[in-house]
C-alpha cells in the first residue's frame, strides 16, 4: 500500500473502543500521531486502557470506530490475514510477560519473527543476543530463564525482525528496579539505533521521563505530558 504522502509512522483518528458486554467505552475519540524514530511513553492508571490502545495499534484487536494507520497502512479495512501480516512485518510487540514460545529454544525464539517476515539475518540476531547478554542461553528453553532474561529474549526477537514500530506493554513491569533499568536502557538504545518508532506503556514515571515524548491516558482521553 502506498504511503499517503506524510511521514507519520502512526496515526490514530477518533478511535473508540468498547469491550463486548462492557457498559462503557474504554476510551472515546482518541487521536494520536507519531513520527518515525519518535519514542513515546504512555502512562495511566491501572484499567485506563493503555494495553487496549496498544493492542489496537498492533493489529491485535479492532476498534469500534475511528481509524488506525501504521506506516501508512489503514488497519480498519484489514481482515485477519492482513492484520497478521502487519504483526509479522511492520510492528513488533513486547508484552509484560509470557512473550516467548515455550516449545522453542531461545535462539529459535529470537529468529522466529524475523524468519516469519522473511527478514532473518543471522549476524544481526547474533549481535542482538550478544548485546542483550543472551549468548550463553541460546540453546535453553524459555522456562529455564529468569524473568529478566525472558524479557531480553523478547526484545531481541522484536528487534531482530526490524519492525518500523515497536510496541512495548510494561516490558519491565515484572522485574526488580535495577534489572528493569538495565533492560529498559538497552531496549531504548537498540530501538533508537534501528530508527524505529516506540510506544512504551509504563507505570513508572521515572522510566517515562527518559523518553522524548509522554502521553497520559485518563478518563478515556489522551493528554500530552505526564500526569500531574
Amino acid at each position: 500500500m502506498p504511503l499517503k504522502g506524510n511521514t507519520m509512522l502512526l496515526s490514530l483518528r477518533h478511535v473508540t473502543k468498547t469491550y463486548p458486554r462492557a457498559e462503557t467505552a474504554v476510551f472515546r475519540q482518541v487521536s494520536l500521531d507519531l513520527d518515525a524514530g519518535e519514542m513515546l511513553a504512555l502512562t495511566g492508571e491501572s484499567g485506563s486502557g493503555k494495553s487496549t490502545l496498544l493492542h489496537l495499534i498492533g493489529g491485535l484487536d479492532t476498534a469500534d470506530s475511528g481509524s488506525v494507520a501504521v506506516a501508512g497502512i489503514d488497519l480498519t479495512p484489514l481482515d485477519d490475514a492482513g492484520r497478521a501480516a502487519l504483526r509479522r512485518g511492520t510492528v513488533g510487540v513486547i508484552f509484560q510477560q509470557f512473550n516467548l514460545i515455550p516449545s522453542l529454544t531461545v535462539a529459535a525464539n529470537i529468529a522466529f519473527q524475523a524468519r516469519l517476515s522473511g527478514r532473518h539475518d543471522p549476524d544481526r540476531a547474533r549481535m542482538l543476543a550478544e548485546r542483550l547478554g543472551l549468548k550463553d542461553h541460546l540453546d535453553k528453553h524459555p522456562e529455564q530463564l529468569s524473568g529478566g532474561q525472558q524479557q531480553r529474549v523478547a526484545i531481541a526477537r522484536t528487534l531482530a525482525a526490524a519492525p518500523r514500530l515497536v510496541l512495548a506493554d510494561e516490558p519491565t513491569g515484572n522485574l526488580d528496579e535495577a534489572t528493569a533499568d538495565t533492560v529498559f536502557a538497552l531496549m531504548c538504545e537498540l530501538v533508537s539505533e534501528t530508527g524505529a518508532g516506540l510506544v512504551l506503556v509504563t507505570h513508572s514515571q521515572r522510566l517515562a521521563a527518559r523518553l522524548g515524548r509522554r502521553l497520559h491516558l485518563g478518563a478515556g482521553q489522551l493528554i500530552e505530558g505526564l500526569a500531574v
Binding site: L60, D80, A84, R87, L100, I101, P102, F112, N174
Partner: protein, 795 residues
Amino acid sequence: MTGAVLSALLGHWRRNPLQLFTLLAGLALGTALWSGVQAINAEARASYDAAAATLGEGSYGQIVARDGGEIGQETYVALRRGGWLVSPVVEGRLGPVRIIGIEPLTAPRGVGPLGLGEQADLGAFLTGEGQIFGRADTLAQLAETGARLVDAPDVAPATAIMDIGLAQRLLGREGRIDRLILAPDQPLSRPALSTLAPDLVEAARQDGGDVARLTDSFHLNLTAFGLLSFVVGLFIVHGAIGLAFEQRRPMVRTLRALGVPLRRLIALMALELVGLGLVAGLAGVALGYAVAAALLPDVAATLRGLYGADVSGQLTLRPAWWLSGLAIAMGGTAVASAGALLSLARMPLLASAHPRAWAMARGGVRLAVLAVALLALAGGLALWGRGLLAGFAMLAALLVGGALVLPPLLGQALRVAEGRATGVLAQWFWADTRQQIPGLSLSLMALLLAMTANVGVSTMVSSFRLTFTGFLDQRLASELYVSASDAAQAADIVAVAGAGVKAILPILSVEAKAASQPVEVYGARDHATYRDNWQLLRSFPDVWDRLAQGEGVLVNEQLYRRGGVDLGALVAVSPRLTLPVLGIYGDYGNPLGQVIVNEAVFAGQFPDVVALRFGLRVDPSEVAALRKTLRDQAGVPESAMVDQAAIKALSLSVFERTFTVTTALNVLTLAVAGFAMLMSLLTLATMRLPQLAPVWALGLTRRKLALLDLVRAVVLAALTGALALPLGLALAWALLAVVNVEAFGWRLPMYLFPLDYLRLGGLALLAAALAALWPAWRLSQMPPVQLLGVFRNER
C-alpha cells in the same frame, strides 16, 4: 469446613461443565466398551450353552437304535436295571414348536432348562397336569394342554421342554423313546450294551467337528477383544481422571493455602470420585448394553446358523456383566486417581498452580523403561512361555508395553522431524507437537490400542477364513458323507447308492504308528476328487500319479512337523511296508498325524479293514433324495449322514457373521478412541493458549493455527498408526501362533491384508481429523481478547 471445601470442589465443575462432561464421558465410554463386549460375549456363550444343554447334544454321549428308529420302554428299563446310567428323551414337533420330553430324575445335570429343580416344582413337573418350560413366545404358540406353562428364558427358542410322560402323551407316542442320554460317568461293572440291547448302538459323543472349532475361534476372538477393550477403557479412564486433577491444581493450592488440611482434601476428592465413578459407571453399562443390543442380532444369527436352532436375539441384563462393568469403572477410577492423589499429596504448597498439560510427562523415563521391560517380557513369553495363561499374559504385556512405548517413540520421531525441518513454521510445528504429546499421550495410547486391536483381530479372522475355506473345499469335496454301523450296512450303502451317484469314495482308515507317532493311516481311491481339490503344502511332481501307483504316501503337516518326515523321507505304513513321502498337506484342527496311501496298498497291508465311511459324489440337487433313499433302503440314520455342502455354507456364513461383528467392534473401538481424543483436545485447548498466543501475536492468523492443529492431530494419528501396524501384526501372530496353539493345539498360517490395513489407517486418520475438527474450529473463532489474556498479569 467440609461443606465449604466440598462446595468449592463441586463449584469447579459447575463453572467448567465441559471438563465435568469429559471426565464422565471418558469414564462412561471406557466402561461401555468393556461391558458391551462382555455382554456380547456372555450372551453368546449363554445362548450357546442353552442351545447345547437343551439339545443335549455335544456334551453327552447317546444311545440310539441301530436302525435309527424308536427305542422300546422295556429296553430302557432293562438298561437301567443292568446298571447303565441312561436317561430317556422323546422328541417331536407340535406345530412350530419342537417338543423335548426328558426325565429330570435320571437326566445328567445340565440337561433341560437351567435351574430346573431349584426354581421349579419338581413334583408338578413330573405328576398331575405337569409343567412345560419354554420362552414366553414359544409357550404362546402351544395349544392349550392343561399343563402349567413356565417361562424359562434359558430354553432355546421355539423349543418346549417337559416331562417325558407328558411329551409322549402330547405327541401321541406313549411308551416310545427316541434316544437315551448317557451320563458321563458309568459304572464299570455294567454289562456290555450288545448283550443287554443288541439293537442299540452307542453314538459317539459329537464334538461338532469343524463347526465347533469355528465357534471356539469366534469366542477366542471375542475374548481377545474383551481384553483389548479393557485396556483401551482403562487408558481412557486414566486419561480422564489425570486431566481432571491437573485442571484443579490451582484450586487445590488455594484451598490448602487457606488452611484446609491435606488429608481432608484428599478424602473429599476421593469421595467425590467415587460418586462420579458410580454415575459414569452406570451410564457406561447402559451404553454398553445399548451397543451390545445393537450388535447382538448378528451374534444371534451366527449362533442360529451354528445350531440350526433359534437363538434369542434379545439381551438379558446379566448381573455378572453389569457388575463387572461397574467394577471396571470404579477400579479404573481408583487406579487412575491413586496416582493423581499421591502426586497431589506430594505437591509442594507453592508449586506452580497452572494446570500443566505436560504434567503426565513426569516419570517419563521410568515409564519408558517399564515399556521396554514389558515388551521384553512379551518376547520372552513368546519364546519360552507355556500354556494359555502365558499366552494371554504375553498379549497383555505386548499391548501395555506397546502403549507405554508410544510417547517416547513419538517424541523421538518428532525430534527427528524437527531437526530436519527447514522452515520456521515447520520447526515450530514439530516442536509444538512434541510438547502436546504428554497431554495427548493417554488418548493416543487408546487410539494405538484400538488400531492394534483392529489390525490384530482382523488379521486373525481373515487368516482363519482364508485357511478354513481352502481347507473345507479340499476336505469336504464330496457332496454327502455316510457312516455305516457295520460291514453289512456298509455293503448295503454301496448297493443302494451305487446306481445313483457319480462316485463312491470309500474312506478306509486304521490306527497305527509311524515315525514314532500315533497316526491314522488312510486308504484313498485314485479319483479326480482328490486331484482337483487337494492343495498340497509341498509335493514332488506327479505326486498323484505316483500315489496311485503305490509309490509313496502323503502325510499331514502334523506328522511332518512332529515326526520330522520331510519329502522323500521313508514312512513305515505297516511293519511290512515302508514308503517315501510324496507330499505334505495341511490338516487344520486334527490333533493326530495322518498318512494317506493308495486304496490298493491299504488293502494289501490291512486286509481286514473294511470301509465304514463313504464320500458320495452326486449332483448337489440330488443330495436330499439320496439321503431319503439311504435312510429308507439301507437304514442309515440321519445322524450318520453329513451333507457337506450345508456344513460348508454354514461355516462360511459363520465367518461372514464373525466378520460383521468384528468389523462393528472395530469401528466402535476406533470411534471411542476418537472420542477420547476429542475430549483430550477440548480439555487441552485452554491449557494450550500460552503456546499459541505468542505465535498468533507474532503474525499467524487463527485460521492458520487451527489448520495446523488439525494437521497435527492427523500427523499424530499417522505416527501412532505406524506403530500400531507392527504391534497389531505381533498381536495377530500371538493370537494365531501362541494363543491358538495353546487353546486348540494347532497353528494357523498368518496372512497379511495390506488393503485392509490401508483402509483401517484411513479410518483412524479420519477419526483423528474428526476429533480435532471441533477444537480447531473453536480456535479459529476464538476472540482476540482471549488470546491477549495470556499476556495479562493475572496468569
